[in-house]
Symmetry: C2
Subunit: 295 residues, 2 copies
């Protein structure tokens, strides 16, 4: 840490819950008590010009989204969030007030989910970047690979809203879905008791379902009329639009009724099959998510 | 993860030790077994144009340095490295061969220190960025705050070499010190048995000593003739030059002889004092490290 950085750091961390443990941020590394349960760890970054532009995104929107996408990964594991680290790349023009705004976008999520900031890093950068590492605990993690043919497929919320929110003139609710996705942490904790596999829908339903199917060595049959989507969202966006951060869950049929009662905001959209590949209404479909590196 | 990213990821991880545990990389989050010891966690980033330029730094140099600076933080805690996550921001021109070169710079350090890659993230970025989160275990972490007046101050290796290596026409050994710093992990493990406090010298001796003194509520008296420096390195660079990634250690006098026998490559440079502030040869000194954000 360098001198001018301390003001930025103070402005940032003042907004955020910090740990009640003896040693947290401030040393060369954070020291965390040994945990009784396995740890789930994820890291995800948002980069200006790639994941957001300004001023379309406010600094608070950016802060929210950076933390939400990491929490969504923990939700997909059925993990209870515990601590996080935040590495910021800041343009030279970034002020203490900017740092506070960024953190204010993160604070409600951190508080709601009991996530404690234990460390971080600050560096100069040509564009704003926020790279978060988040950890959660779980006795029995939800993996992508635990499902089998016959398991029912559920998705939370509505799909395609975030992608629709990118369009000119999109309704406010869709724009909010794009800028301020809600990580389904509580649903993940419920799902951990019932589901055989899970993944968060970050790259589009077909793409992420493909990952779950590959890991579980199964195929999937979806019914288009069942796929939940908000008003004005096309089936194509619901199948292929990214950044919804809903959960896709596989549940063995014998646990389906209990899961539906416990979970609330979920919709049955299809079933895993022995035959590999994904079908929608019986026709072969292929996932194609957004790819920064496709040539 | 998106389609074109998989090739980049495969090229990258093929070079690196991965965990022998049931669930490692590949799911939404890594799952790690509960640890018996407290965890030390750190995150640090290197950014093109800020921490390195190309082609002055090869991709291997960049990989080495990105991991070394994180290992140095763990060394300063007296922690034994265990696992890491790697978040990459890659320009569009980055190829699979580039990803492999970057990882090849990291592999020797990861192997030497038993550090296992458990996860990561890939995103587009206008410049190359490498943000690493690294964890280590320690029964009894070295903090900055554990020292007291009377403790002896030691530093490892030689100081100022990395800063001198930035100069035009610098000797090869100094350039190597700049590009490929050696994290003092083994020394940190030894120091954990003897030292009262530690910090790694990343921002310059006076600056980092200032942090240790502030945390330990003490001052320090240094003797300039004792400060170890390589041939051609000025006292000013040894006091203020950054990026050496040596360890600065405070050791109670009663343990000094045993520490010196156990530690090897260390030099006594002074002592902590009750009077706050840092003196060099009895005259007040002030640390000023490099600051990306100073105005």
């Amino acid at each position: 840490l360098r001198r001018g950085e301390f003001g930025l750091i103070d402005a940032f961390v003042a907004q955020l819950p910090r740990p009640p443990v003896p040693f947290g941020p401030g040393d060369d590394a954070a020291v965390l008590a040994a945990s009784k349960n396995p740890l789930c760890i994820t890291t995800d970054a948002v980069v200006e010009g790639v994941h957001f532009t300004r001023p379309r995104f406010s600094l608070s929107d950016i802060g929210h989204k950076a933390l939400a996408v990491n929490l969504s990964d923990l939700a997909a594991m059925g993990a209870r969030p515990t601590w996080w680290l935040c590495a910021l790349g800041l343009p030279k023009s970034f002020t203490n007030a900017h740092a506070a705004s960024l953190a204010r976008g993160m604070a409600p999520l951190a508080k709601r989910h009991g996530l404690q900031l234990v460390g971080g890093n600050l560096t100069g950068s040509p564009v704003l970047t926020v790279t978060i590492t988040a950890a959660g605990e779980t006795g029995d993690p939800l993996l992508r690979s635990g499902a089998r043919a016959g398991d029912l497929l559920y998705v939370s919320g509505a799909l395609g809203s975030a992608a629709a929110g990118l369009r000119a003139g999109a309704r406010a609710a869709l724009v909010t879905a794009q800028k301020r996705p809600t990580p389904r942490v509580e649903l993940g904790l419920v799902a951990a008791r019932f589901a055989s596999a899970a993944i968060d829908v970050s790259d589009g339903l077909l793409g992420d379902l493909g990952h779950l199917c590959d890991a579980s060595r199964a195929g999937a049959a979806l019914e288009s009329t069942r796929i939940p989507r908000a008003r004005g969202v096309s089936l194509d966006l619901a199948l292929n639009g990214g950044e919804d951060y809903q959960l896709l869950l596989a549940v063995p049929p014998r646990r389906a009724a209990a899961f539906e009662r416990a979970a609330g905001d979920i919709t049955l959209i299809g079933q895993l099959t022995r035959t590999r590949g994904i079908t929608v209404d019986g026709r072969a479909a292929s996932g194609k998510g957004f790819d920064h590196f496709r040539r």
